[in-house]
């Protein structure tokens, strides 16, 4: 029975406390999950434990592992444990893998005795990959892996050294449900075999699956703790209640899609976008074929499916941002002249990076003769302070920038908005806020929506028309 204890852990930047936690203990056989929104200090906590925190931040506190004490202020005293006792599964595993090494070789580097017995290490890496159903990918390069596969390769690399303490930092970003379930199974297995697990996430699904103990963090402190199923079903703290209610399946808004009411659209109306028998393939891989759909004014469509099946590609074809291999896309006159807008997964990339937001917005206002004051009034409606406009896109948080992107799109009074995973990188509360802004604006203007997402709950909550793309080429249209 091993035990990891953290006492009086604090991370400070100048006078600001970024993490301030009195005590945390992790027992083997019981997962510990820390949830909270972005900026609550969860990830810093993980890095403080590992000793990988940036040098600009001051760390205090002690850690004890099986009775051995470590001063957390000293970043180096746990270094010899990396991989053997302590392991971190980093955010964005696709970026954490070395793009110039084959999967098996880089997994093997973490195996014990890699330097002296290379053959054995490689064999061990193959075994590990085989157990994770990645045997076929052992010789592959990281860039050819899907997000879920890269996540499992990173897991293999992090755990091959036999570390008992595994810290998982935001594993859910951009992963679809199936990959997430696979990862949850791996983590559960780690706990079941006597490992210590600390998972940092904003995904309540994962927290629920892992069970064990749950800590809710907000603004550097822990606001609630307890068994996961208790905290997630009967939350006590106000913040936890809001967090739990922010899951799309529990949303309560006027604009939610209701299965009873007829869709707002008039079925006789001319379609804004009419696609006929679309087909697209990249190289030898066929993404889809024979897709026909018509989007009428005010309709809300959701394109769902796991990552890599061509949801975004299909959306881009419908917006005529790409050319289909076969089939046609017709646009109604109502969407001409910029009345078709797109929201991007990473809003920071959709603004000119080196131009202040005021200038970017003013360009649109001038070009399209938007009435003065419209930007300001829209921003006020969406709860954005005007001072944000004086910044560069990189200096605004993801959630705020996505709302600014909504403001930008709405300036042109679009007839159809294509939201391409627009909230999949945001935490739950921010996602709820952003979707509320978007949907309220769409409802107010009667604009149609094309939502691409891998989150089935989000799709169900928002859309009246669903199109599922699966690995199999044939899509299922559900009216």
């Amino acid at each position: 029975m091993s035990l990891l204890e953290l006492r009086d852990l604090a991370v400070r930047h100048g006078d600001t406390a970024l993490v301030d936690v009195a005590d945390i203990s992790v027992k083997s056989g019981q997962a510990l999950t820390i949830v909270g929104e972005s900026g609550s200090g969860k990830s810093l906590l993980a890095h403080a434990v590992m000793g990988t925190i940036t040098t600009g931040l001051a760390v205090e506190g002690t850690m004890s592992l099986d009775g051995v004490h470590y001063d957390l202020a000293d970043r180096a005293n746990r270094k010899h444990h990396w991989g053997r006792e302590l392991a971190l599964l980093p955010q964005e595993p696709a970026l954490a893998l070395d793009p110039t090494m084959r999967v098996r070789d880089q997994v093997a580097e973490g195996a014990p005795g890699f330097r002296s017995r290379r053959k054995a290490a490689l064999r061990r890496a193959e075994d590990t990959l085989g157990r994770l159903n990645l045997g076929h990918a052992a010789r592959a390069w990281p860039h050819t892996l899907s997000g879920g596969m890269a996540q499992r390769v990173a897991y293999a690399a992090a755990t091959i050294g036999g570390a008992r303490v595994l810290i998982v930092d935001e594993p859910t970003k951009g992963l679809d449900r199936d990959s997430l379930d696979q990862l949850a199974d791996l983590l559960t297995e780690h706990v079941a075999t006597g490992g210590l697990l600390i998972t940092i996430t904003h995904d309540l699904h994962l927290a629920r699956k892992l069970g064990g103990e749950l800590l809710v963090m907000r603004d550097a402190i822990i606001v609630e703790r307890g068994p996961a199923d208790r905290v997630l079903t009967t939350p006590e703290h106000d913040y936890t209640r809001r967090l739990v209610a922010a899951e799309p399946s529990r949303w309560q808004y006027e604009w939610l899609a209701s299965p009873l009411a007829d869709a707002t659209a008039d079925p006789a109306a001319e379609p804004l976008v009419a696609a006929e028998k679309l087909a697209k393939s990249y190289g030898d891989t066929e993404l889809f074929r024979d897709i026909s759909l018509e989007i009428r004014p005010g309709e809300r469509w959701a394109l769902a499916g796991p990552s890599g099946v061509g949801k975004t590609t299909l959306g881009n074809l419908l917006l005529r941002l790409g050319a289909p291999d076969e089939g046609t896309v017709r646009h109604h006159n109502a969407v001409a002249g910029g009345r078709l807008q797109k929201l991007y997964q990473d809003p920071a990339l959709s603004f000119p990076a080196r131009v202040r937001l005021t200038d970017a917005m003013r360009d649109i206002v001038r070009r399209h003769g938007v009435p003065p004051g419209r930007v300001e009034s829209l921003m006020a409606t969406l709860g954005l302070p005007e001072s944000l406009l004086h910044r560069l896109p990189g200096q605004v948080s993801g959630g705020e920038l996505q709302r600014l992107a909504i403001v930008r799109a709405m300036l042109l009074e679009p007839a159809l908005v294509f939201a391409d995973e627009a909230t999949s990188r945001l935490d739950l509360l921010t996602q709820e806020r952003t979707m509320d802004c978007l949907m309220s604006e769409l409802t107010r203007t009667g604009c149609a929506l094309l939502l691409v997402t891998h989150d089935r709950e989000l799709a169900t909550a928002v859309a009246d028309h669903h199109l599922r793309l699966d690995q199999a080429v044939h899509p299922v249209a559900v009216p």
Partner: protein
């Protein structure tokens, strides 16, 4: 420092005596208070010649770099923007120039016009230099033009001028200014190299490379004659390279 050299190049020729004025009586005169760098083998003032030579180098390099920059940048943007055959054609032309050693092109042009005039040198150097702007700008522009930001701008119907002004130029400016600082150095060194091997500008024009060559036979009796232009070349190079580093970090 660069400002001091530029001031020397601008003001020097105005207040100093004629660089070609000979005074054979003051043959290889040593430096003195009235003539800080002494006089050369024809009794001409080395300081005056140096000022003229520096001005020539700087103005000429600026002209070459300016031309290459405008030509290369616009070709690079056009290539990335239009793609297809325009891109293929421009890339083909640029590769021809890359395949030839830079000095060879300049030498070729210098040899074509046997009188060693400034114009042939100017065309030759500009032709050699536009390629690097073209390649860097083209690579960066195609990245920028393929970005979601430009896609969003086209959905917002903001037009090509907006893309140039807000997307391309802010991304390209630090690149081309860095390249231009390096280009100035290459250009000044190329002109003086050609002068040094006597295929560039002809005497009696005051030119840094020529001055070094002319000073060499008298190195033992009048070292100032060749050391002065070398020092100026060194300072200019160091200044431009220093400028480049501040460009990169800002």
């Amino acid at each position: 420092m660069l400002v001091v050299i530029a001031a020397f190049a601008i003001i020097g020729p105005l207040i100093l005596p004629d660089p070609a004025a000979q005074d054979l009586g003051r043959y290889l005169e040593a430096p003195s208070a009235s003539e800080p760098l002494g006089r050369d083998d024809y009794g001409r003032s080395v300081l005056a010649r140096l000022a003229h030579a520096t001005r020539l180098s700087l103005v000429f390099a600026a002209l070459c770099v300016g031309t290459a920059l405008v030509l290369g940048t616009s070709a690079g943007i056009a290539s990335a923007w239009f793609g297809g055959w325009a891109d293929a054609a421009l890339r083909g032309i640029s590769e021809v120039f890359v395949a030839l050693p830079a000095l060879l092109v300049v030498l070729l042009f210098a040899a074509l016009a046997a009188d060693g005039s400034l114009w042939t040198l100017y065309i030759g150097l500009a032709l050699v230099q536009w390629v690097e702007y073209f390649r860097v700008v083209r690579a960066r522009s195609s990245l920028v033009l393929g970005s979601p930001a430009v896609e969003a701008a086209s959905l917002l119907r903001l037009g090509p001028v907006h893309v140039l002004r807000r997307h391309l130029w802010p991304e390209l400016r630090p690149l081309v200014t860095t390249l231009a600082a390096l280009g100035m150095v290459t250009c000044i060194l190329a002109v003086s190299t050609l002068g040094f091997i006597k295929v560039g500008l002809r005497p009696p024009r005051a030119e840094l490379g020529l001055m070094v060559t002319e000073g060499f036979p008298f190195y033992d009796v009048a070292p100032w004659m060749s050391v002065a232009p070398v020092a100026v070349l060194f300072l200019i190079t160091a200044c431009f390279l220093g400028l480049r580093r501040s460009e990169v970090t800002t």
